[in-house]
Amino acid sequence: MRKIPVHFIMAFMLVLLSSVSINAQNDKKAENAKFNEKCLKCHGQSKYKYINSESGTEVTRRMYIETIINRSQFAESNHKTFKCIDCHSADYDTFPHPGRLRMETKYACIDCHGDDEKYAKFQFEKIESEYQASVHSTKHGEDFNCWMCHNPHSYKINARSENKIKDIVAYDNAICLNCHADITKYQMLTDKVNPDIIQKHKWLPNQALHFKSVRCIECHARTNDSILVAHNIQPKAKAVRRCVECHSTNSILMASLYKYKVKEARSKVGFYNGVIMNEGYVIGANRNYYLGLLSLILFGCVAAGILIHASMRIIKRKK
């Protein structure tokens, strides 16, 4: 009988195992979704109904926008397999909800993701310390938290994905604009008048193209070699303003927006920062080494030709 190679068996086992784990995850998601539906019956829509125990009549009320959970976004999010009560108190199962639950301490990312082998590659501890150094933390202290940018009910991993750069940019910039372009949210933390982002960035050439092609954090956050997405948001005065920081062969974009793609695929086709070119083009950062060399050689030939011709004219001039 022909022997089946060991690596074939191992590959088969691996496929089987991963399908089992995906199935298990899907099962858990479906099971929890059913469980969560008890909460989403009210929190999954803009209004909720209850029977007034005094009058016995049905009352319809509007749900506060902050407490509405978008079902489809949640089902796509990183926390999709969770039960609501994994993070919130189980006492929420009574209605009206007990008043003391308002004081419930909410988890921060680090509370679950810190010191966890499974999440080691994300470096949550470093993210936490970078965040602590950022203006969001130094200016607003406890008033600011992870959830202001990363909605736990809808957040999904973005930079570490095969998504198109333009989509990553749009998703990430929406996080900043959520407060920085919305006066009501912005003024939750400050009495300042919301800065007009378009007006403030008037100096930036091709503003619309920049906004579509790079994230706010490219200029407004200090990069850190060991984490993928910079969390150390800098004060306005320290934002990058020098064009060459990106528009040069050692473009900072390689250490920020394109960091993941750079790590995944190092490009050596003769283009400086070639990975940027798959989806964009940055003047000054995307020179071609060979074209540069060719132009220098051509220029040298032209100069040499002129020099020889001029010398010959001088030597052979009429005496």
């Binding site: 050439p205 091709n206 619309a208 193209l209 020098r242 064009c243 060459v244 920081e245 528009h247 040069s248 062969t249 050692n250 070119m277 989806e279 964009g280 083009y281 003047i283 000054g284 995307n286 020179r287 074209l291 540069g292 132009s295 051509l298 220029f299 032209v302 100069a303 002129i306 011709h309 001029a310 010959m312 004219r313 052979k316 009429k318």
Partner: protein, 205 residues
């Protein structure tokens, strides 16, 4: 004995002077942006961008002035490239420049009132003014308004293709400029052609 012919009317001299200044500015700022280096910028990037943009816009206006002027005045006849016998004429002029000139032979196509350019000049000027310069102008405007560029061009980024055309053709224009300036020294005397740019009179050999 040298003889003077009035060949360059005022409008051509003005156009040529402005064209020269703008092209020099565009080449210098273009090279500065292309080979930009944060530690040692030749011209600071944002300043180079502004200078390049302004010069480019002025060059477009000046180019339109040239095109209109050329097609509405007798100047246009100098640019009518006759394909008949073009290659032998080009070779004849090329041979003169590479050999004849050193033997002090008479120029094969002397400058007259009706023939301002020799065949090699005519060919390169037509190529420069009606092929290369329009390409850099069109691609330059496209880069100035990148939102109007087709985002995908044969599967690649439209911006990338546009910029490649702009930079490569831009290099050819700069090569043309160097050779053009050098050939200017080949006149009745070393400086006579430069004087003509100011006076309008061409001095024949």
């Amino acid at each position: 004995m040298s003889q003077k012919i009035y060949l360059y009317p005022v409008w051509i001299r003005l156009w040529h002077a402005l064209n020269a200044i703008l092209i020099i500015l565009l080449v210098i700022t273009g090279i500065s942006m292309q080979f930009t280096n944060p530690a040692n910028p030749f011209i600071r990037f944002d300043i180079a961008v502004s200078m390049h943009n302004i010069s480019g816009i002025l060059l477009t206006v000046n180019y339109m002035f040239f095109v209109i002027g050329t097609f509405t005045t007798p100047n246009g006849r100098f640019y009518k490239l006759s394909l008949k016998g073009l290659i032998p004429r080009l070779i004849k002029q090329f041979t003169y420049y590479t050999f004849g000139i050193f033997k002090h032979e008479p120029t094969p196509f002397p400058v007259t009132k009706d023939s301002k350019f020799n065949p090699l000049q005519q060919f390169t000027y037509v190529a420069a003014m009606f092929v290369l310069v329009p390409i850099v102008i069109i691609t330059g405007w496209a880069l100035l308004y990148p939102e109007i560029i087709l985002t995908k061009f044969f599967g690649g980024s439209g911006l990338k293709v546009t910029d490649f055309f702009h930079v490569i053709i831009g290099f050819f224009v700069s090569f043309f400029m160097f050779v053009h300036v050098y050939f200017c020294t080949i006149g009745a005397t070393f400086v006579s052609n430069f004087k003509s740019m100011i006076t309008g009179f061409h001095e024949t050999h």
